[in-house]
């Protein structure tokens, strides 16, 4: 379970997030929606302990991620919004490195590489943006984490591999992982999430199941996308 309670984290310029409360149960996939600068990455980076919050309690499976980051990171798979990996290594070496750091084998990484049709012997600088994103995703998943924190995970992936990715996410959720996944677009989150939270100017303005929002939209005769934009403008 991922729990964010009363998170407040301010940058020197005063921006950041204030009083965020979000929880993700085991087996649940929660979308974190909002435009650029809404606070999605700040929330996720705070949860990872990269940013030190001025207030709040952040935990994964009951482990406080600020006070006990090593134990927490053992069970978390985190994908940054713009993953930057060593360009001169090939994917296979990177998987080996990631697996060794977590005392795991690379079997699952190679299995995922096959699913994503990834050429593991090419160095990262020889790979396209989409293929580099696949490498980053595999690095996040190779230790079969109990919690996934994914910042815009489908960025750069073609629709075919987006589909593969969502299948893998569903598989993780079915196995009991708690998954928090950020995106700009509700239609993307719709494919995989059970619920979603919306951030605007560093504040959480919505946190409900996907079905509740969908039913409201349908009762007002609106499609999901239009209902979402209207809701966002109104709040």
């Amino acid at each position: 379970m991922i729990e964010i309670k009363n998170l407040t984290m301010r940058y020197k310029n005063g921006k950041g997030v204030g009083d965020i409360n979000i929880s993700v149960d085991n087996g649940e996939v929660k979308g974190l929606l909002g435009p650029n600068g809404a606070g999605k990455s700040t929330t996720m980076r705070s949860l990872m302990g990269f940013l030190i919050p001025s207030k709040g309690t952040l935990s994964v499976e009951g482990i406080n991620t600020i006070e006990n980051p090593v134990e927490a990171k053992k069970i978390i798979g985190y994908l940054p919004g713009d993953p930057q990996l060593p360009q001169n290594l090939n994917s296979k070496s990177l998987f080996k490195l990631g697996a060794d750091m977590r005392s795991q084998s690379t079997d699952y990484a190679m299995e995922l590489a096959e699913k994503f049709e990834l050429e593991v012997d090419k160095t990262l600088k020889e790979l396209s943006k989409g293929n580099r994103q696949k490498v980053a995703l595999i690095l996040v998943l190779l230790h079969k984490p109990k919690a996934l924190i994914l910042d815009e995970p489908t960025s750069g992936l073609d629709p075919f591999h987006q589909r593969t990715f969502f299948e893998i996410v569903k598989e993780f959720a079915n196995n009991g992982a708690a998954i928090l996944l950020s995106s700009h677009i509700i239609s993307e989150v719709e494919k995989v999430a059970n619920s979603f939270a919306v951030l605007k100017n560093g504040k959480a303005i919505y946190d409900e199941t996907y079905d509740v929002f969908k039913n409201n939209a349908q009762s007002n005769g609106k499609d999901l996308e239009d209902a979402f934009f209207e809701f966002y403008e109104r709040n």
Binding site: M9, R45, M48, F50, L51, I52, P69, V70, E71, K73, K74, I76, Y78, P80, D82, P83, Q84, L85, P86, G98, M101, R102, L139, V140
Partner: protein, 247 residues
Amino acid sequence: MLVPLAFMNETVEDVIINQQKEAFRGMSSNDTFMSFLGISDWDNVFTLEGIITTYLFNLFVPLLIAIATIVCLNKMGAKAEEDGTFEFVASLPLSRKSIYYTHSFVAVILGILLGFIWINLIYAPIAIFGTTQDMEYVPLLKASLQSSLGGVTFGVLGFSIASFSGNSSQAWTFGMGVLGIEWISNMFSSRNNFFKFIDSNLSSFGAYGNPYKDGLAFDDLLLVTLKIFLFLLIGYFGFTKRSLNLR
């Protein structure tokens, strides 16, 4: 300049060393200028031993080690934070403390190792081919250690400040800035009491002395070791307590 010195015969020695020495002797009367060039002993500087132990070890080796340490540690630390590559490392089950200890170890060992490799590259042709001027290996290692540790103080200062703030450019500002101040203090130490105080009590250049001839001095070693430890401590408290400077 070292190559002809290492392989020269006596005629060459007379042409490129003794005649140069006399031609430039006028310079040696200006202490500040000599200090600016890193020359602490004019008569000795035209020998192989003098060039290495009182000229190169005095200024250039610490400068090169400081630059190499800052480049390497920035790449692993503050610069990696700024360009995003550190986010991958930070997501692994490693504590900030263990990351900082590793970086600190690399910073100190890299400097000493560079000095060690460099001096062996210089010494190898002397030992293998023989020259008209001889050098002793163990005193050379002692001088190399003292000089390298001097360079490490500046490199580690840059690394620790960048670790404290997460800003890679501050490594250069502080590391090279303090190196400059200590060098200026060395230059003017004979003319000004303030600079003399810095040079005698705080400066890594002042701590160098002449370990090739005199051996390692406990006070000098203690000063550079304390500086390295203090700077690493500053970086530790900053790096383990602050938010990462991610883009």
